[in-house]
Every structure is written in structure tokens, then in C-alpha cells.
């Protein structure tokens, strides 16, 4: 039964974080609002991946596959911005 409690807590957490991200935008924090939105979205996706998609219970192989994908995306985004920022 513990898993049900966890699911309810994660669901409520996700709803609250959505409220928070809307509130942060309404406050108009300038350039920080973008960073805030991305950070909150990342916390939410961490919760979905770990708790709903059960990534934390998966085999190491699947965890590594995910991390390699994330690393590829990071390199892709990083190199693109190096290009356009210093062009």
C-alpha cells in the first residue's frame, strides 16, 4: 500500500509545482523567470521519471541508456549555443 501513498504524494507535488511555476511567472522576475521555469520543469520531470516511470527501480542498463541520451542532448545544446553566442 505504500506505493499508493507515494503516488498520491508525487501527484500532489506535481500539481503544486505547476502552481509554483505559474506564480513565478506572474511575479515577473525578469531573466530569472526563465531559469526558474526550467528548474521547476526539471524537478517535475525528475519526479515523473523516477516515481511514475520507475526509472529508479530499473536495471542499471536502462539508467545508463537514459544518462547517455541526456549527455548527448547536453552536448548538442551546449555546442549550438557556443556557436550562436560567439558567431
Amino acid at each position: 500500500m505504500t506505493s499508493f501513498n507515494t503516488y498520491i504524494i508525487v501527484w500532489l507535488g506535481l500539481l503544486n509545482l505547476t502552481g509554483l511555476t505559474i506564480a513565478v511567472t506572474v511575479l515577473h522576475l525578469g531573466r530569472w523567470s526563465v531559469l526558474g521555469a526550467i528548474v521547476i520543469a526539471s524537478v517535475k520531470s525528475f519526479l515523473v521519471l523516477n516515481e511514475f516511470m520507475h526509472l529508479k527501480h530499473e536495471k542499471n542498463m536502462i539508467k545508463w541508456m537514459f544518462l547517455v541520451t541526456l549527455a548527448c542532448l547536453t552536448v548538442f545544446i551546449g555546442l549550438t549555443f557556443f556557436d550562436i553566442a560567439f558567431r
Binding site: 503516488y7 511567472t25 517535475k44 545544446i77 549550438t80 549555443f81
Partner: protein
């Protein structure tokens, strides 16, 4: 018993295959996010104006709908494991219903925009600045591709539901439900990033 032994089945392989597919989906949307970021970096003002025109209420409601549908999805799997087939089917039906509700909202959102003359290549949009044309182009492509995933997800979950009713999916044979659930969560995951980037940035 002998037929059960002859059955070819590899749940671990099926799950790895599903994750591999989902990771390619992440790269697909990741590419679009990079495109969005670069254009936003070049046209900050126009992207701000474009985002102000989107319906924040509809976007927020759809976020709550998708998050809740992910919750009912995990409940469906958890109930099946407890051999509560009725509750599992009910949770699955709710997930499908919430997915359809998301699409209904999307329909109203898009038709409102189209009625205002804002759609790709419309005279109204082409008269605007380059940055705003890019913003609305990306808006239609990214929410459209995401919406297509919701449509496929709803169909997939409906097939899984039929299989469950017919007894093809059982508590000790739930990989179809689990993999369909993974696909549904990925749709939620992508929306978690689409929502702030299109509706909230100011």
C-alpha cells in the same frame, strides 16, 4: 502447462526496447527545443509578445489534466498488480478520458487562434515580424507533434484496455500495460517542458 513453456516471451527485452524508443523520442523533441531556444535567443521581444497571446488558463488546465492522467496511469498498473482488475480498468479508462479532454481543449485553443487569423502562412501572421512568425510556427509544430503523440497514446491505451478485458493482459503478464504507461508518461514529460516555454515565458 507445456504450451506455457513453449511461449516465447522476453519482458526485460520488451522494456529495454520501449525505453530505447522513448529515448529517440526525447532526441526528436530535444532537437525542436534547441531550435526554439536559438530563435528565442535571437528574437526575445517577439517571443515574449507571442507568448502573451497564448491562452494561459487553457494551457494550465491542460497541464493539470496531463499530470492527473499520469497519476491514474500508475494507479492502473498498481491495481493490476494487486489483482484488482476492475479498479485497474477504471483507472485506465480515466486516463483515456483525460487524454481526450486534453485534445478537446487543444481543439478549442487552436480554433481560437485560427479564427483570429493566426496560423502558418496566414496573411495576418505574415504581416507580423519575423520573430513572431517563427514563434507561432514553432508553437504549431511543437504542440502539434505533441498532440499527435496524445492521439497515438489514447489509441494505444484503448487497445491495451481491450486486451485487458479479453484477458490478454493479466497481473503476471502486464508488460503491454507497463510499456503503454511508459509512453503515456513520456507525453506528460514533454508537456512539462512545452508548457513553461510557450505559455509562461515573459
Amino acid at each position: 502447462m507445456s504450451t506455457a513453456l513453449l511461449e516465447h516471451r522476453d519482458d526485460a527485452g520488451a522494456k529495454i526496447g520501449m525505453w530505447l524508443f522513448l529515448l529517440t523520442e526525447l532526441l526528436l523533441f530535444g532537437g525542436l527545443f534547441v531550435l526554439y531556444s536559438v530563435y528565442r535567443f535571437r528574437h526575445p521581444g517577439e517571443f515574449h509578445d507571442g507568448a502573451m497571446e497564448l491562452n494561459l488558463i487553457l494551457g494550465s488546465v491542460n497541464t493539470l489534466i496531463l499530470l492527473t492522467s499520469s497519476f491514474t496511469m500508475v494507479l492502473s498498473i498498481a491495481f493490476l498488480r494487486l489483482v484488482k482488475r476492475g479498479a485497474s480498468l477504471l483507472a485506465l479508462a480515466m486516463t483515456i478520458l483525460l487524454g481526450l479532454l486534453f485534445l478537446v481543449n487543444k481543439y478549442f485553443e487552436w480554433s481560437a487562434k485560427i479564427n483570429h487569423g493566426i496560423f502558418p502562412n496566414s496573411p495576418e501572421l505574415l504581416a507580423r515580424s519575423h520573430g513572431e512568425i517563427l514563434f507561432f510556427g514553432l508553437y504549431y509544430v511543437m504542440t502539434g507533434l505533441h498532440g499527435l503523440h496524445v492521439v497515438i497514446g489514447v489509441l494505444l491505451l484503448s487497445i491495451v484496455m481491450v486486451w485487458m478485458v479479453r484477458g490478454k493482459i493479466t497481473p503476471d503478464r502486464d508488460i503491454f500495460l507497463e510499456n503503454a504507461g511508459l509512453y503515456w508518461h513520456l507525453i506528460d514529460l514533454i508537456w512539462i517542458y512545452l508548457f513553461p516555454l510557450f505559455y509562461l515565458i515573459t
